[in-house]
Symmetry: C2
Subunit: 121 residues, 2 copies
DNA sequence: ACCAGACATTGACATCTGTCAATATAGATA
DNA sequence: TATCTATATTGACAGATGTCAATGTCTGGT
């Protein structure tokens, strides 16, 4: 059984849309895209994404991600949750550790939306 | 005489950076990029950008942009200012009317930052 | 069974953000 | 000058957001 529409991540709901440079966005489309962009539009979350992307396999343990910041562990955990729920990071628990993996396809969806060129594939 | 660093728009300060998918962002870089993304990460501003982009010459008068929304004129004016200060819209006053023109290069800069591929040029 | 470590959740708080009503400014026209 | 129209600014307010301390929940090891 497939997930209901409401259970899709923002990145999944956005993947279908044609670039905003071609025709005006509907109010609903704009809401979905803004949800995805808001997830990225934070300095800590941008650095988290770039840290994960810089690890081999675009994957990193939470323990790798708390050190670079002068922020509490719950705060990092909160930001990772935001990125995960937006569909920008996959989550994989292995024993005690939790690994987050970057979804390059989600990033490409965003790039395709705001750029004139069709998405790389 | 050139403008000081602090007077550059977010889009200008970001244009130089290598993609975040290649190496971790510094805290300063992340702040600059997030400023630019925050400007886009709002449903009304996304629709404003797409409306401007859909007009001929990627240019539209404010009077073309207030109708599609059920928002007050000062609110639209506020959002246009945010987009302008981020470097996403150019501003041109012609008589009584003000025309905003989309900066496709600024949008491309964002796309280049978050995508693996080098920017289209 | 117990403990220790890794990560998540909760609740509280200060700051930021989007919105509007009211007002201001600036250009065109009479 | 007076007035009308297009757009911007100001000030106020409610709701969203980022942060932390405290606490909870797993998992592995002793």
């Amino acid at each position: 059984m497939s997930k209901s529409f409401l259970e899709l991540t923002p990145s999944q709901t956005v993947a279908c849309c044609s670039p905003m440079t071609r025709e005006p966005l509907s109010a609903v489309q704009a809401e979905q895209i803004s949800t995805l962009l808001k997830a990225l539009a934070d300095p800590v979350r941008l650095r988290l994404m770039s840290l994960v992307l810089s690890h081999e396999g675009s994957e990193a343990c939470v323990c790798d991600l708390t050190g670079p910041f002068e922020l509490s562990q719950p705060t990092i955990s909160h930001h990772l949750k935001v990125l995960h729920e937006a569909g920008l990071l996959d989550r994989d628990k292995r024993g005690v550790w939790v690994y987050y993996k970057a979804r390059q396809d989600a990033l490409d969806s965003i790039a395709a939306l705001i750029s004139l060129e069709p998405a790389r594939r």
